[in-house]
């Protein structure tokens, strides 16, 4: 029991570091995108009162990567947000590996269910 506790504790510390790094990385990318976006579009008039879906080049993962490489501020912000969404997914993936190392197969299965739902959400692209 105490060996399991100790392992759990160590795993959680690693997970904590992973989460912090992911969030800081995502925030840095969003900030970079913000600078490009504000320099180019800071003088325009924003309009969010009427909802119309964001264009395809800001909703599909490949298009966002493409736009970010082309230094589009909005695409870089979306890339940062994708990194942010991916951070908890990485955490769940890491937990699955950790449970497997502990040979706790019931929890490997439970974790893979959560991972499956997250990956479906992250890569599903119909809309």
């Amino acid at each position: 029991m105490s060996a399991q506790d100790w392992n759990d504790q160590r795993i959680e510390v690693i997970i904590g570091a992973l989460l912090r790094t992911g969030v800081l990385l995502a925030a840095t990318v969003v900030l970079l995108g913000a600078i490009v976006y504000l320099v180019r579009h800071g003088g325009e008039i924003p309009n969010y009162a009427v909802f119309h879906r964001e264009p395809d080049n800001l909703t599909s993962t490949t298009a966002i990567l493409h736009g970010a490489l082309g230094m589009s501020g909005r695409a870089i912000i979306q890339l940062g947000l994708l990194l942010l969404i991916a951070t908890p997914v990485a955490r769940v993936l890491f937990s699955a590996i950790a449970f497997a190392l502990e040979r706790d197969y019931l929890y490997v299965l439970i974790t893979l269910i959560v991972l499956g739902i997250l990956l479906y959400s992250l890569f599903e692209s119909s809309g």
Partner: protein, 277 residues
């Protein structure tokens, strides 16, 4: 108002929301959507997308600090996340088909419930016998108490699981963390000690929000120009709030923040019924 001024104002408002949310433990997410919808006249669907993103940022940012203390229980968290993430997908499914006004009314009701739940004083119940299901799922655990390790048992697993599905659905539908419902499920239904409930709940919030945020992003609900100041503002505010938390006297602030939430709740319901969201 141009984009620069708009971003600065929203960034400041989000900073304040994140700061007060962390300081009072009520979470910043619940006030971000009403702030954007009522104050800045942003369509509620854009507001929900931006708020979800900020919820992931604060949950993941704070989790790093919590895990070191050793209160959170990753088995309880992971098991219940199967319910919250499935609920989140259901919540997004509902959000795609109901009107903005209906969303606003549900949002208002949830705000009033959160304010009520936060005003109650939680006391850890007596030691409960473990249920068979909790034992098979290895949910029972221990946490560092004043006199060394204190072990606890878990019960009421089906009821807690059901409540977690609801918490996930509300998170996906409204773009909030649903921390209050998660703590309710763990603390009241499953009799998990309060400190373990709150830290484990915080851990789960990011995963739950990630389940719906991906769907929203691919469906064009997340506008980068709006999500950017909200995410950066709430994140900075919550990190700042966590720093001063140790020194501040938060009781008065808690009541004040709860009062603000009540006012916003009534206004959301009113605007929703009047069809002006």
């Amino acid at each position: 108002m141009n984009v620069l001024e708009f971003s600065a104002l929203i960034g400041l408002g989000s900073l304040l929301a994140g700061f007060l949310g962390a300081l009072t433990g009520l979470g910043g997410g619940v006030v971000v959507v009403p702030m954007l919808a009522l104050l800045f006249h942003v369509d509620i669907r854009y507001a929900i997308g931006a708020s979800l993103v900020s919820v992931i940022a604060t949950s993941s940012g704070a989790a790093a600090a919590y895990v070191r203390e050793g209160y959170s229980n990753i088995r309880i968290g992971m098991f219940l996340e199967t319910a919250t993430t499935a609920g989140a997908l259901a919540g997004v499914g509902i959000a795609l088909y109901v009107s903005s006004n209906a969303i606003a009314i549900v949002f208002g009701a949830v705000l009033l419930c959160s304010a009520y739940l936060s005003s109650r004083h939680w006391v850890d119940g007596a030691h409960v016998p473990s249920s068979k299901l909790a034992e098979r799922l290895r949910l029972n655990g221990a946490y560092p108490g004043p006199n060394g390790k204190e072990s606890y048992n878990v019960t009421g697993v089906p009821a807690g699981y059901g409540l977690m599905f609801v918490a996930g659905a509300l998170s996906g539908l409204l773009g909030i963390g649903s921390g209050a419902v998660k703590v309710l499920a763990m603390d009241r239904a499953m009799k998990i000690p309060f400190k373990v409930s709150t830290t484990t709940s915080n851990f789960m919030i990011g995963v739950t929000a990630a389940a719906s945020a991906g769907l929203y992003l691919h469906r064009g609900y997340i506008a980068p120009g709006l999500a950017m100041p909200v995410m950066l503002g709430v994140l900075a505010g919550s990190l700042l709030g966590a720093r001063v938390l140790v020194r501040a006297r938060v009781k008065v602030l808690r009541y004040l923040f709860a009062a603000v939430i009540v006012v916003l709740g009534f206004e959301m319901i009113y605007k929703g019924i009047a069809g002006r969201i």
